[in-house]
Amino acid sequence: MTTLPPAVRFVRSNLGLIVAPLFVAAGAVALYVYNHTTDKIFQDERALGWDRNLRPQLEQHLSLTLWSTAFTILLAVPLGVLLTRPRYRRAGGPILAVATSGQALPAFGLIVLAFAWLGRGPWTAVWALTFFTLLPVLRNTMVGLEQVDRAVIEAGRGMGLTKRQALMEIEMPLAVPVILAGVRTALVINVGMAALAFLIGAGGLGATISSGIKLQRTPVLLTGAAMTALVALAVDWVAALIEKSLRPSGL
């Protein structure tokens, strides 16, 4: 392997990161061509209007995904840190169980439950999604912190790092790859879940899928479904880039 030119080695080790955006772009082009070459009836034109429906839905979809992921991180990472401190370690089991139940509930049921409790609107959807994706981020934060070599922390504390310094300068940087893997999982789950948000009036690309089913129009159904899939792939790609860039060197 060492004899390969650097460019080839770069491509090989980053194959996934290079192929994914090409795939997404190809999918988007295919979808565009398909929509502009098939015969459409009036309802199709209406449902697939870019400015009227698709663009706002795409924006809603992304914003639901990003807000819920942001809340997930804000809740789960500090909670994970707390639950790996000696004082609160014993609470880890029960809290992890609650987070697991969040993910065990069917997404559909969870969104409807949140609706019954918090009413219509995008924020209800955001909270439902946040609760749903708490688990992967919480668990990965805990696992990530716990897999840090005890000897490294011991050495740091032994040289006079305070508990907080040991956490921020040693444990967190070393746990980042695992935590980010959890965040990436959460993001992808959220893109899928956000497709159900239209049920409680929170918009998203699920509305187009639903129209396609109701109208029994394949172009509409296909467009909604394909766009959701492409968003998931694109989001995952961006997350992978972030993961790569935040991974501490030396690991």
Binding site: D149, I153, E154, A155, I170, G250, L251
Partner: protein
């Protein structure tokens, strides 16, 4: 005992819910500028004792005094920045470069960047790593030996007066370990830090320690003395069992050939000697072998009566070659090894130019061992007679 750099006064550690304490009522004085080795069987609490000193483990009783200052209650994080700490697993920060690792304590102490950079280069140099090569590398690119060098450099970062080392060379292959130990002793010769060193390996303890504390259960001190005296006179069954059967031989490592009395009379001849006269001398002497020296006084052959009698063979080629040569700086342990290899059961002492100085035999070594043992015994008898101190307390070597 005002010269003690660190003093443990009745220090104990009892974990909640356990009947017996892990460390029971320990009194220990670590003299300034010395390496004190804590050694004992697994589970005797030696690592715990070490970690009580920098309060990685908080003692449940007693006081820790540092330079005359009671540090049992001070902020442990600030205390630890004054004490270097090296552990067996090294624990380099994998996400930081070697330079960043070494800079840990200076950074915590708030030094400015230029001073930190100078200090890092100085420390890497000191521990035998070229700063230009290693400064920007990451720990995963280092071998075990190199990583431990960085570990030592990092512990010395803030120029602490005290260094705690917990089996620092324990996970390193024997050849590299030996080299690191030697380099560390050379470094210590310059730095003169006060060092507490934990190991379970008595040979490492003997090699590294200015003093050795042999610890039993619950970190009770069974004997605390110089390695020479412990080897010459293990105070009880426990100690002698722990240091093992080879202890007498290990004691020979501390004595040098030059300190022996080499003034005895030896049978030496020049190759061109009158054979009849040499033979006469040989027969009058109780010695079994005669040493042939060349004109520069360098030993060349061992010969006996039959070789002297056989005039056909010149003495330069008669008898057996001299292989057991040894210089005055060598230890008696080396001398013994040479002796066992030698044809004559004796080692020939020569100076740097290879000129004959004298001969060492097993009897002389036995005498040395007897003398060491008697001295140590006398030392302990005097201590007991004075009744002033426990037999296990440190005294200046006599």
């Amino acid at each position: 005992m005002t010269t003690a750099k660190i003093e443990l006064q009745g220090v104990g550690k009892r974990y909640p819910g356990t009947a017996a304490p892990a460390v029971a009522n320990l009194d220990l004085q670590i003299p300034e500028g010395e390496i004190v080795v804590l050694v004992g069987p697994s589970g005797c609490g030696k690592s715990t004792t070490l970690r009580l000193i920098n309060r990685m483990i908080e003692p449940t009783s007693g006081r820790i005094v540092f330079d005359g200052e009671d540090v049992t209650g001070v902020n442990p994080d600030l205390l630890r920045r004054r004490i270097g700490y090296v552990i067996q697993q090294i624990g380099l920060f994998p996400h930081q470069t070697i330079a960043e690792n070494v800079a840990t304590v200076p950074r915590l102490l708030g030094w400015d960047k230029a001073r930190i950079a100078r200090r890092v280069d100085e420390l890497l140099d000191m521990t035998g790593l070229d700063p230009n090569v290693y400064r920007d590398r990451y720990p995963k690119e280092l071998s075990g030996g190199q990583a431990q060098r960085v570990g030592v450099a990092r512990a010395l970062g803030g120029d602490p007066e005290v260094l705690l080392m917990d089996e620092p060379f324990g996970a390193i292959d024997p050849i590299t370990r030996d080299r690191l130990q030697n380099e560390f002793l050379r470094l210590q010769g310059e730095l003169r830090k006060t060092i507490v060193f934990v190991t379970h390996d008595i040979d490492e303890a003997i090699k590294m320690g200015d003093r050795i504390a042999i610890l039993g259960e619950q970190s009770r001190i069974r004997q605390f003395d110089t390695p020479e005296r412990i080897l010459a006179y293990p105070i009880d069954e426990f100690v002698s069992e722990f240091i093992g059967s080879g202890s007498t031989l290990k004691g020979l490592n501390f004595e040098r050939v030059r300190d022996l009395d080499l003034s005895g009379t030896f049978l030496v001849v020049q190759p061109d000697v009158d054979r009849a006269e040499a033979l006469a001398r040989y027969e009058q002497s109780p010695e079994r072998w005669m040493l042939v020296l060349d004109p520069q006084q360098r030993p060349i052959r061992w010969v006996d009566g039959s070789h002297l009698a056989d005039r056909a063979v010149p003495l330069e080629r008669a008898g057996r070659p001299v292989i057991a040569l040894i210089e005055p700086d060598a230890t008696l342990h080396d001398a013994l090894e040479r002796m066992l290899l030698s044809n004559a059961g004796q080692a020939v002492v020569v100076d740097k130019q290879g000129r004959f100085q004298g001969i060492v035999d097993v009897e002389q070594l036995a005498d040395v061992l007897k003398r060491l043992r008697n001295q140590a015994k006398k030392h302990y008898d005097e201590l007991a007679a004075n009744g002033a101190a426990e037999a296990s307390q440190p005294e200046e070597p006599g």
